[in-house]
């Protein structure tokens, strides 16, 4: 089904247009030269309205998304985005408000931000929340900048090391490096948790803090978390919680009570705001009272008269983002929390964990588990099927597309060879999970009996397997008619 959708420039022809303007009744004047583009990109495609509409509708129908299929992309929490949230975010009072509008004219928007700060703090056990960061990695950067500022403020400039487990998301070490601190990698133990002996050996007066995801990227709960936090605190360091996997513990455990000092919330994962091309993220952050003065501003507070105002914390590390963060995402997250309430949020996590374990138990005889334990909201299996020659995880992932599923995360975490990381989320019911499980079982059989079917996959998708190596080695970053024609010829 390798069908080719022409590029919009290929559909273009001079003189075609989508609107009919009235006859010009003023003298025609050229645009000022200073306003003209100087980069040669002056050719805009010329098409009729139906052509444009059909082109983009066709492309949208080729998209893989939670609107069209189960999307078990581990660590990404691709849960459904309720359509109600889209409606609320489009209310004129939210959608048409200008960020520079006077506070007195933005009270509703400020109230929403104030309440969301409050809810997120309550759910996670933290004193203070800033809604500024644009996404998870920026939340991490905010946290480690705050750690650095905190240590400097205390006159302790030599804390320059950040401990990061080897199973961590790549953004953790990248964040520490971005702040100019040294990354110290921690080993994992046989149970897939932080190796406590390695942690003890690497803590020192140079320790600025530790970054930890709990549950971790193997989908396992770090059950020594209280002791980990104590050890880091005794060494004078701070604990950063990567909130990417927060979907597993809503209403069950509060990171602030476990001993974390700072965390980010991926509103676009845990709190349903769209992501993965569906919209910008939001990486709001929460922290202890001790670190609150360092949070980025502006935050929202309530005055004695009951109105809402913006303020910047006294020792703030500064702004992380223009205006008030990705505001429309805050509206969606607020709506989610208000729709479900405390009991509903807890049920989200319970079902997410139940779903992941259902998939795990139904597949582990064919796909070995990375670590043989009960998992949290996601399970990490290995694409090493007994009796299958020359089949890799990538082949299994591509074949799943033919069965109508978005593939899971593959080759992550890096410490698991041929990793397949499956996160069904609470969105899916038993019926869909059973179809997914059957597809995975069928693929395991094909891997042994007809391996070429896997090597050739996907065969039912609009495009076949992409040449990822060539795309990385010889990227074409800008449309170029000649290069494009040559690629088409080679197909």
């Amino acid at each position: 089904m390798d069908t080719y959708e022409p590029h919009i420039y290929e559909l273009s022809a001079p003189g075609k247009h989508g609107t009919n303007l009235p006859r010009l009744d003023v003298p025609e004047a050229a645009l000022p030269t200073a306003l003209l583009r100087q980069d040669g990109m002056n050719d805009f495609p010329e098409l009729t309205e139906p052509e444009v509409m059909r082109h983009y509708t066709r492309i949208s129908q080729r998209n893989a998304s939670p609107d069209t299929m189960m999307y078990p992309l581990g660590s990404c929490t691709m849960k459904a985005t309720p359509k109600l949230h889209e409606e609320v975010a489009r209310y004129a009072g939210f959608a048409a408000v200008h960020p520079l509008q006077d506070e007195s004219l933005s009270q509703g928007a400020l109230q929403l931000m104030y309440e969301l700060q409050d809810y997120l703090g309550e759910i996670s056990g933290f004193e203070a929340v800033s809604l500024q960061p644009a996404a998870g990695a920026q939340g991490e950067l905010t946290g480690i900048l705050a750690f650095r500022a905190y240590h400097l403020d205390r006159g302790d400039p030599d804390r320059t090391e950040v401990l990061v487990p080897n199973a961590a998301h790549g953004t953790n070490p990248a964040t520490a490096a971005m702040v100019g601190l040294k990354v110290v990698e921690l080993k994992s133990d046989a149970r897939g948790n932080v190796d406590m002996d390695d942690l003890r050996a690497k803590l020192s007066p140079r320790t600025a803090g530790m970054m930890l995801t709990n549950p971790n990227t193997l989908g396992l709960f770090e059950d020594q978390i209280v002791e980990i936090c104590q050890l880091v605190h005794e060494a004078g360091g701070l604990m950063y919680g990567d909130g990417a996997n927060f979907n597993a513990i809503l209403g069950i455990a509060k990171p602030g009570k476990l001993g974390f000092d700072f965390m980010h919330y991926n509103l676009h994962k845990t709190f349903t705001t769209p992501h993965g091309g569906g919209g910008p993220g939001s990486g709001a952050v929460g922290c202890t009272a001790e670190l609150a003065p360092f949070l980025p501003g502006p935050r929202v507070r309530q005055t004695a008269s009951g109105s809402y105002e913006l303020f910047t914390p006294e020792k703030s590390i500064g702004r992380m983002k223009a205006f008030h963060g990705n505001f429309a995402m805050l509206v969606r997250a607020w709506t989610y929390i208000r729709t479900l309430g405390a009991a509903g949020l807890r049920e989200v996590s319970e079902i997410a964990v139940l779903n992941a374990n259902y998939v795990r138990v139904k597949l582990k005889d064919l796909y070995p588990q990375a670590i043989d334990r009960i998992c949290m909201h996601e399970t990490v299996l290995r694409g090493q099927i007994a009796g299958a020659q020359g089949i890799r995880t990538l082949d299994i992932a591509k074949r799943l597309i033919d069965y109508g599923f978005h593939p899971p995360t593959v080759y992550f975490p890096l410490i698991v060879p041929e990793a397949l990381m499956i996160e069904p989320t609470e969105t899916e019911g038993k019926r869909t999970l059973d179809i997914f499980i059957q597809a995975m079982r069928d693929i395991a059989r094909e891997a042994v009996e007809t391996p070429d079917v896997l090597h050739d996959a996907p065969t039912t998708a609009p495009v076949r397997r992409l040449d990822e190596v060539r795309a990385a080695r010889q990227p074409i970053l800008r449309y170029n008619a000649e290069a494009f024609a040559q690629i088409l010829n080679e197909r």
Partner: protein
């Protein structure tokens, strides 16, 4: 999956190999490492003259699957780098012990604990399960 592990090299736990050639040593990544990484698409190597300490990160290697640091198995001064790899990384996958070499070093005498071929084979085997 059969991994090539030449008997005359020494190996680090981070999957670099070390070959002594007279006064100098040559460093690369092992067949196990290239197989685990998949097709390499980018590599960043240090400048000639850089002094490495054992265990220190000396560069970055990126494949379609992952980006990893490269760690110095031994200390010393970089006397040559395989700059052909910047334009074409294929030799790292095709010939990791030959044309895919990374650095030539004048050793300082400091080393990470290194394994012989037998120990490294066991180390690879252990991680495959």
């Amino acid at each position: 999956m059969s991994i090539s592990i030449p008997g005359d090299l020494r190996y680090s736990t981070s999957d670099e190999w070390v070959r002594t050639e007279g006064e100098e040593v040559v460093i690369g990544i092992t067949d196990y490492a290239q197989d685990a990484l998949g097709d390499v698409v980018y590599i960043e190597l240090p400048a000639v003259g850089t002094v490495l300490t054992p265990g220190e990160s000396f560069g970055v290697i990126e494949s379609v699957k992952a980006s990893s640091d490269l760690y110095a198995p031994i200390g010393g001064e970089v006397v040559a780098v395989n700059s052909d790899l910047e334009a074409n990384q294929e030799p790292i996958n095709q010939d990791p012990y030959g044309a895919g070499w990374l650095l030539r070093i004048r050793p300082s005498g400091e080393e990470e604990p290194l394994m012989d071929a037998t120990a490294y084979a066991a180390y690879c085997e252990e991680r495959a399960h």
